[in-house]
Subunit: 404 residues, 2 copies
Amino acid sequence: MAVGPDTLPTLHPVAGFKIGIASAGIKKPGRRDVVVMEFPESASVAGVFTKNAFCAAPVHLAKANMATGQVRYLVTNTGNANAGTGEQGMADAKAVCAELAQRAGIAATQVMPYSTGVIGEPLPVDKIVGALDAALADLKEDNWLDAAWGIMTTDTRAKAASEQIDVDGKTITITGISKGAGMIMPNMATMLGYVATDAEIDQVLLQSWMSAATERSFNRITVDGDTSTNDSCTLVATGASGVRIEADSAAATAFVEAFNRIMLQLAQLIVRDGEGATKFVEIRVDSAETSKEALDVAYTIAHSPLVKTALFASDPNWGRILACVGRAGIENLDLDALQIYLGDVCIVEKGGRAASYTEEQGQAVMNEEDILIHVVLNRGSASETVWTTDLSKEYVSINADYRS
Amino acid sequence: MAVGPDTLPTLHPVAGFKIGIASAGIKKPGRRDVVVMEFPESASVAGVFTKNAFCAAPVHLAKANMATGQVRYLVTNTGNANAGTGEQGMADAKAVCAELAQRAGIAATQVMPYSTGVIGEPLPVDKIVGALDAALADLKEDNWLDAAWGIMTTDTRAKAASEQIDVDGKTITITGISKGAGMIMPNMATMLGYVATDAEIDQVLLQSWMSAATERSFNRITVDGDTSTNDSCTLVATGASGVRIEADSAAATAFVEAFNRIMLQLAQLIVRDGEGATKFVEIRVDSAETSKEALDVAYTIAHSPLVKTALFASDPNWGRILACVGRAGIENLDLDALQIYLGDVCIVEKGGRAASYTEEQGQAVMNEEDILIHVVLNRGSASETVWTTDLSKEYVSINADYRS
């Protein structure tokens, strides 16, 4: 199951950013499961990585290699996460980078590795290395859609977004892909994102935009509250358009707006393809005292199995939402001052069910696939929004039956 | 579904503590849904109540009336939680107390009210009041089992525990009942516990033992992480045995040990009857730096939908447990130093799957109904244990289908 139409926009190639896909047969013979990305020496690279203390070997290595500022290639395999694999896992990740570097005539530290798939199994280095020549031979700029398919694991849909904006009369492209369907999959290590632009942007600036955009996109989605050992998202600015974007310029504003939209789309596509999802749910908390307070309320609702099963049942069960707000740990919460809305319908005010509320109004909102839960705390000026799914019987089936 | 045998011990009457049950027909005609408990003026009463900011009217009133130190009666109704009911809810709770007080010849503030059932519906005061005479006429000491049935909502089993201990050659009795099957039920406000003893114990001492025992029992169980608006647990010491227990005495030690066992049994019975439960899971975290750290790890595992669905599938999916430990927010966690066990089987050490581990060993543990997940952090001397259930398809069914 997935929520909403399964359509992708035109994926504009990004000048200077080439992608090659090949088959290593890691889990299935013939599956195109290795993706190599190549970009010029002058490119800037920014990245964000999982905060899970048990982060996988490729995450450690990708971080370290990004820090050198010399990266030229990204190499991704699906089917195996190379997580929970100890010292051998690190040696394996380095071996893949070294083999790619040798073929490309660069140093091994100029490659960032990514792995997604089963946790705890040894990385099949030979299979991956065996696919590198084919992936390099396939390198071209118009390969985004195949790459979106190439990085998938149990995703049911390819996920991509693309925009072009006009800067000083020249066209700049931003294109990206993502994968993931649960914060961690059954045995899988999950969320990956890759975005490229042909703008020229200094690395420090690029990283600041990347970190800020992540906070409003990939760090605001949750399917089941579980954080993967392998999550990462990488942004490359090739500079091949010849358009340089400086900090605090009008071009910067336009770029950041477009980039934020791309990141949000890539993140929301993951939620729409969430495991067993039948609903796409936005939870907006307004007029909190602090951002943390707003997030505490939003995630308490987003992670409540009782709210999520009510969403699955299309049941306007306001008592469960109210109970979440009450247990979110907000100090001195004034129950009489807050309101809770389903869509535009006020369901809670003055500490109880809104006088104007009728079950029919709530039912009409809950019958939709896209649902807004909106909490107005009336305490301050902080707002936060997170996106999540419902909790369906299929979620349990997917996660209980996966290894059997 | 429920986990383990459905057997109750002999429920010893508690001298001075009388219970009467009657039918108010709140949800079903003929259902015995009102329970009145009576004890002498000399009794001490201790209580713990939900921390949910949206706590229900009866919780507010019970707290306030307990503080007077003059309580003589407890009155409980099922079928309606009187939660999310605003000012009318408080007036209704007071009305029930006043009607009982009038019949008993006491003040309304000498009654503590309890309600459990649907949130957000007006309390049917007339129905409850109509059952009070019958409940008072039914008052007797040997009524614990009927009371255990009387306080149930969607529970599938009656829950009770009872012990007798010897103090200075005299017998002291402790008997209790509880109800609840999710932290909050679909639309329900859930957990209630009542324990009585015929020992004579000062109120301040009684409250300190009650609070400490709650921390190790009712505050260490979770089915779905949701905290009810109506949770409360009440302990009454009637003094009718003539045996007085002083602080720091041998008798106090014996009493507290027995009382803690009773509380733990009552709490664990709730987990065993958890919504859709097929497993009873103990999560023990040892050698943490602080108690909070141990609880953070334990609850991260206990609330992970991925761990819970793996438990439902009897799948020794160690990657999911490892990922939970990694995201529990422990600073400077030394991955190489910790171990994770399933029962007695070491599944994780040195940052990955234990070398000695075989899938068959893990499968054997997971095939049991009662399962221990044991995390050894090797950082300090704090330990904590929590109890939870798996996440089954039936959990989703129960909570998605409830109002339909």
